[in-house]
Amino acid sequence: MISQFFVLSQRGDNIVFRDYRRDVQKGSAEIFFRKVKFWKEDGKEEAPPVFNLDGVNYFHVKVVGLLFVATTRTNLAPSLALELLQRIARAIKDYLGVLSEESMRKNFVLVYELLDEVIDFGYVQTTSTEVLKSYVFNEPIVVDAARLPTLGPAALFMQGNKRMPGTAVTKSVVANDPGGRKREEIFVDIIEKISVTFSSSVSYSSISSACLCSFADTLDCYLLEAWSILKRLGVMLSNDDEQGYVLTSEIDGTIQMKSYLTGNPEIRLALNDDLHIGRGSVPSFGYSGSSGTGAVILDDCNFHESVHMDNFDIDRTLSLVPPDGEFPVMNYRITQEFKPPFTVNTLIEEAGSLKAEVILKIRAEFPSSITANTILIEMPLPTYTTRVNFDLDRGIVGQNADFKESQKKLEWNIKKIVGGSEHTLRAKLNFSQELHGNITKEAGPVSLTFTIPMYNPSRLQVKYLQIAKKGKTTNPYRWVRYVTQANSYVARI
């Protein structure tokens, strides 16, 4: 059972501190902060989320820069403690609209009231905002959301797409709108985080003959390498093949719901008819998803406890009475192949002993009706790089490139990329010492972060969202939104 719960600011200040069992000393917050801050002497390595210090076990998660911490002396389940910390953060956010140091300080009485209902004597009672509403009486004092970072995946919608009402995600579930009337609305967000690793792509000029020989020696062993050797030898058919092939790809998806409907009506969500669960469940696995047809196959999925699955096996509909607050209706995981939204082509060319040129080409492989936002492309450069000159495509606004000298990293920011377009960056590198051996081993990989609204590579869909009507209230607003975000999107070179 949990002994203490506390929230610390980035500087280590106590924002909230609640002792449930009094078997851990009071100074624990300070002890914890010192330990985490100086986990390794160089301050580089992050402390693991669970550790034991002088008989006290500390659990912590980071949420919007705040440290949520629990302590215990018993052999507690860390999964419980860590999940709880996330849920407490979510419940507080539901109540306050915005989770931040400021909002928590302003509402500390409410937060304590919540904490008393969430945990009793170290035992979790409930984390459901819906249930908590019957026991918690303080009204939240709303802070100005505009200048604060928000929590959770739905925050993606804050990034200024006009079609989506961004304010909803910072609206408290208990506070009323300024007009005094609550707006009847419900948000269903399909959020997919994708991870893709591309194998090394071609870089003609960096292949030395020695390198080729060593590959040839072990050719038979390297089945996977063989393919790239062929490519390196120039057995290339078209330009499209220049970038590496997909080594691994994965989609972590969530159907997130946030309901502001009064009277808690029942809701039915219909997903794709041809949704399959379990990779073994599809008889013929011949068709690939990248072509855009075929079934959506989930490796695994799980559901919120409010979800009834009575009809799920028959017609892929989920029914639920959504509790107040933000919660995931369903989490799913897909390793079925999909078409990656971006392809990356990297070329490194040695230009003399102290110079090299990098050409980065990025192509948006999605329809032109869709636009990706805030694309950041990063690439570590050799440690002896001293100076980089950039050559950007002309006529494209909102992009810039930079060499972060302290991290020896190239950064290329692009505000928007329209589907189907291609962008190129040329960078001339200057080195302080002569190259030894293979430059491709000392630079890269190229990693991308981006957000693509109204696009999801899995093709999982909410086909309809039905709200069981109670009385003759006006038709509530229904928002079904899709967004894709890069998790680990890496092209090796």
Binding site: M1, N14, F17, D19, R22, D23, Q25, K26, E45, E46, P49, V50, N52, D54, G55, N57, V61, T74, N75, L76, A77, P78, S79, L80, L82, E83, R105, K106, N107, F108, Y112, E113, D116, D120, F121, Y123, V124, Q125, T127, N138, I141, T197, S214, C221, Y222, L223, L224, D252, D299, D300, C301, N302, F303, N331, R333, T335, G444, P445, S447, R492
Partner: protein, 894 residues
């Protein structure tokens, strides 16, 4: 309510307290509420607002729930320091507990349970009794937890008032939330009691399994954890349980998923059908993998658990290796764990893919991660014979990049590869030698030197290479010096020419005369003598064939692995340590300033008398204002080092000191006064409430007061060590003090055959350090959960081969009655299983268990009134048998 609460955080100026006092007594409700908020704000930032106690309590009688909650929050914090004033609140509490509003009823009971003041506790019983039977489930679920609170304050009261039975009734409650809390409460009480209180029968099992479906997610975790203690009768029951639990794997809450996994893994042990087991493995894989899509913190916990699971059941995730590939943005602690699992899952089938990944990781930025990736390649080479060659060529490729730490790490693993596959890959030595001068880390240097020495005959210029190292011999770290010494001797034995002969003289001279490292000197002398007496024998010794190594790094000992698997989903499974290594059951109650004050003034007489007694019997009366203070005992913090002890903040670590006699027989003398310059120490290990203590009595017969006592234990078979600092008050001449020092297990385990020897060092500020030897009676390690079911006893007895049986006669022992003997043994956690008559003799079967799950199955044969008893035991820990008989003998004697 208007304005911002943060305004209450404005800095305290002089005169704020009187100001608040005035506001608290305002005639306006809103003003009073605001004032209480200010008080709470001050409290949370650590200001002392206890002087406002009376004024805040005066605000308690209100209909406003918001205000009431605030006052209650204040009370929980300060009642302890104002016990006499706290009584003012009792009336309102009792009244509130009968309020028509269920929220207020629950709030009253919940808060009263949190106030550890005896006068309040006394008044808690009646309201609690009512609330346990309340119509409202919210009140009942709050009351259920409150029983555990009360048990923590006063266990006897709980038993006397029949709250345990009331709690057991709640298991059948129609509200699943109430059931879950009752289960949690009972599980906690059981944890702290040595008597069986909460035993899951097949009847409760089915009730709980039903409740599982309706419960909230957190309740499901409580129930699953409680059920994991249940041992199914047979494979069929196990299959049934698993069937009911499997749907939990689909839950979005990862705590539920992991607890379900734990249940299933435990029950799988009993399931005999391979089809069912295979099917279960298949079902468990996707949810386990899905945990890796959660937040990185959860991923870390999942990975640590998966690490254990794949060691026991590698098939579960054999095809999922791709999901353990590191993501670019994984935190380092996740990456490290993923690497570990990748090595465990690497096989001939997937090694190419795995190597490609490792190679990539080895060029990343984080140095620790890169090193681990390089090592991982080596470990795969050692693990997979057929892939060894491919691993080596990847290592060679990495060496060619010439990144210093990569090269060094590669050389370290290549040395291991040579030891695993002798005479196979020596052709690469030439490549390795190219990097010789870049080596600057001791381990890499030592590895390279080992390679040169081991293959001296194949390296043409081995003597030159070694000689280059010899120049700096005196400056090298010991690890490198030792390798240099051995390598030079090897070189000399393989190539007894002039050059090496000179070298060896230099080395031996350096290593014997010029060094003050005893290890190095000893080794050098041994070589010297070997070489000077019989060079052929030296060859046989130094160049003997070495045993081939295998990759057992990070592989856990099977018995430890089993124990950890039984603790899946708990901290134990994340630390990879058994629970008793980091959890001490003795509870500490925080010392408030108030208590410290009492301690200082009143000495140890009153409060600590109770401290020692709490374990065995809680305070008899509840009217004793000090009894709860007396429970402030013992810190569970395992402190391995005396130096650390001294730096520790004492207020956080309080150990009981009991000047009156500790319970039980008088303690044996371990340090006679004659030896200890007047200090006599009597001590013995004892077990109380599932916890091992070192019970000590220190007697000062010297002329000076003694203070600053500290204690340390040498490595021993069970790794017993002090669970906190030794807290002994200064002892005046002619007086004595006794103490109960909580002990922890498996801190500093000494290898080698088990021994009951316990070496202790005690020091104080006035005298030298005293060393003395004590014995570890094995019986103090017999755990409370050592009772075996009759059927499993029988099964285990049969399943253990006869070679695991050993017996001993106790010819002088006379059994006066069977019951007396059993009672005596039961007191030491030796549990009676069955009895049968064999002619005129009684044959008794008992079971006992020591930590790490080693069971003892005991058969005693004796006749009442006739001298002689035969004791036969069967156990998996046969090496413990001598210790067992030693303990048995002393138990029978007493």
């Amino acid at each position: 309510m208007s304005g911002h609460d943060s305004k209450y955080f404005s800095t305290t100026k002089k005169g704020e307290i009187p100001e608040l006092k005035e506001e608290l007594n305002s005639q306006y409700k809103d003003k009073r509420k605001d004032a209480v908020k200010k008080v709470i704000a001050a409290m949370t930032v650590g200001k002392d607002v206890s002087s406002l106690f009376t004024d805040v309590v005066n605000c308690m009688q209100t209909e406003n729930l918001e205000l009431k909650k605030l006052v209650y929050l204040y009370l929980i914090n300060y009642a302890k320091s104002q016990p006499d004033l706290a009584i003012l609140a009792v009336n309102t509490f009792v009244k509130d507990s009968q309020d028509p509003n269920p929220l207020i009823r629950a709030l009253a009971v919940r808060t009263m349970g949190c106030i550890r003041v005896d006068k309040i506790t006394e008044y808690l019983c009646d309201p609690l009794q009512r609330c346990l039977k309340d119509d409202d489930p919210y009140v009942r679920k709050t009351a259920a937890i409150c029983v555990a609170k009360l048990y923590d304050i006063n266990a006897e009261l709980v038993e006397d008032r029949g709250f345990l039975d009331a709690l057991k009734d709640l298991i059948s409650d129609n509200n699943p939330m109430v059931v879950a809390n009752a289960v949690a409460s009972l599980a906690e009480i059981q944890e702290h009691s040595s008597r069986p209180i909460f035993e899951i029968t097949s009847h409760t099992l089915s009730k709980l399994l039903t409740a599982l479906n309706e419960c909230t997610e957190w309740g499901q975790v409580f129930i699953l954890d409680a059920l994991s203690k249940y041992k199914a009768v047979d494979a069929r029951e196990a299959e049934n349980i698993v069937e009911r639990v499997t749907p939990r794997l689909q839950h979005a809450n990862c705590a539920v998923v992991l607890s379900a996994v734990k249940m299933i893994l435990l029950q799988m042990e009993l399931i005999t059908s391979t089809d069912v087991v295979r099917n279960l493995c298949k079902k468990m894989a996707p949810p386990l993998v899905t945990l890796l899509s959660a937040e990185p913190e959860i991923q870390y916990v999942a990975l640590r658990n998966i690490n254990l699971i794949v060691q026991k059941r590698p098939t579960i995730l054999a095809h999922e290796i791709k999901v353990f590939f590191c993501k670019y943005n994984d935190p380092i602690y996740v990456k490290m764990e993923k690497l570990e699992i990748m090595i465990k899952l690497a096989s001939d089938r997937n090694i190419d893919q795995v190597l490609l990944e490792f190679k990539e990781y080895a060029t990343e930025v984080d140095v620790d991660f890169v090193r681990k990736a390089v090592r991982a390649i080596g470990r795969c080479a050692i693990k997979l014979e057929r892939a060894a060659e491919r691993c080596i060529s990847v290592l060679l490729e990495l060496i060619k990049i010439k990144v210093n730490y990569v090269v060094q790490e590669a050389i370290i693993v290549i040395k291991d590869i040579f030891r695993r596959y002798p005479n196979t890959y020596e052709s690469i030595i030439a490549t390795l030698c190219e990097s010789l001068d870049t080596l600057d880390e001791p381990e890499a240097k030592a590895s390279m030197i080992w390679i040169i020495g081991e293959y001296a005959e194949r390296i043409d210029n081995a003597d030159e290479l070694l000689e280059s190292f010899l120049e700096t011999f005196p400056e090298e770290p010991p690890q490198v010096q030792l390798q240099l010494l051995t390598a030079t001797v090897k070189l000399f034995l393989k190539k007894p020419t002039e050059g090496p002969q000179q070298m060896i003289q230099v080395v031996l001279n350096n290593a014997t005369v010029e060094t003050d490292n005893p290890d190095l000197r000893d080794r050098a002398y041994i070589y010297w003598r070997l070489l000077s007496t019989d060079p052929e024998a030296a060859k046989d010794v130094v160049l003997a064939e070495k045993p081939v190594i295998s990759d057992d790094s990070n592989q856990l000992d099977p018995s430890l692995l089993d124990e950890l698997l039984a603790n899946i989903a708990t901290l134990s499974s994340v630390y990879h340590k058994p629970p008793d290594a980091f959890v001490t059951r003795v509870k500490t109650i925080q010392k408030t300033e108030e208590e410290e004050y009492h301690d200082g003034e009143g000495g140890y007489s009153e409060s600590h008398a109770h401290a020692a007694a709490t374990g065995a019997s809680p305070p008899q009366t509840t009217s004793n204002a000090q009894s709860s203070a007396g429970r402030s005992q013992a810190t569970p913090a395992p402190v391995p080092d005396l130096l650390d002890l001294m730096g520790m903040d004492n207020s956080s670590a309080i150990v009981s000191a009991d000047p009156t006699t500790p319970a039980g027989p008088s303690l044996p003398v371990v340090l006679p006064a004659a030896t200890g310059q007047g200090l006599q120490i009597n001590a013995q290990l004892i077990r109380r409430d599932g916890q091992v203590f070192y019970s000590m009595l220190l007697e000062n017969n010297s002329q000076v007061p003694l203070d600053g006592f500290m204690i340390q234990f040498n490595k021993n078979t069970f790794g017993l060590a002090a669970g906190g600092p030794l807290q002994v008050p200064p002892i005046q001449p002619g007086t004595s003090a006794s103490t109960l020092l909580p002990m922890v297990l498996f801190q500093n385990v000494s290898p080698g055959p088990p021994s009951s020897l316990l070496q202790v060092a005690v020091k104080n500020n006035q005298q030298p350090v005293w060393y003395f030897n004590d014995k570890i009676p094995l019986s103090v390690l017999f755990s409370e959960d050592g009772r075996m079911e009759r059927s499993s006893f029988l099964e285990t007895w049969k399943s253990l081969p006869d070679s695991n049986e050993i017996s001993k006669d106790f010819p002088t022992f006379v059994m006066t009655s069977v019951e007396a003997t059993l009672d005596q043994l039961a007191a030491s956690n030796m549990f009676f299983i069955a009895k049968r008559k064999h002619s005129n003799q009684d044959v008794l079967y008992l079971s006992a268990k020591i930590p790490r799950g080693i069971p003892f199955l005991i058969e005693l044969t004796a006749a009442v009134g006739v001298p002689g008893l035969k004791c036969a035991i069967k156990t998996t820990g046969l090496e413990m048998a001598p210790l067992f008989f030693e303990a048995m003998e002393s138990l029978l004697k007493s």
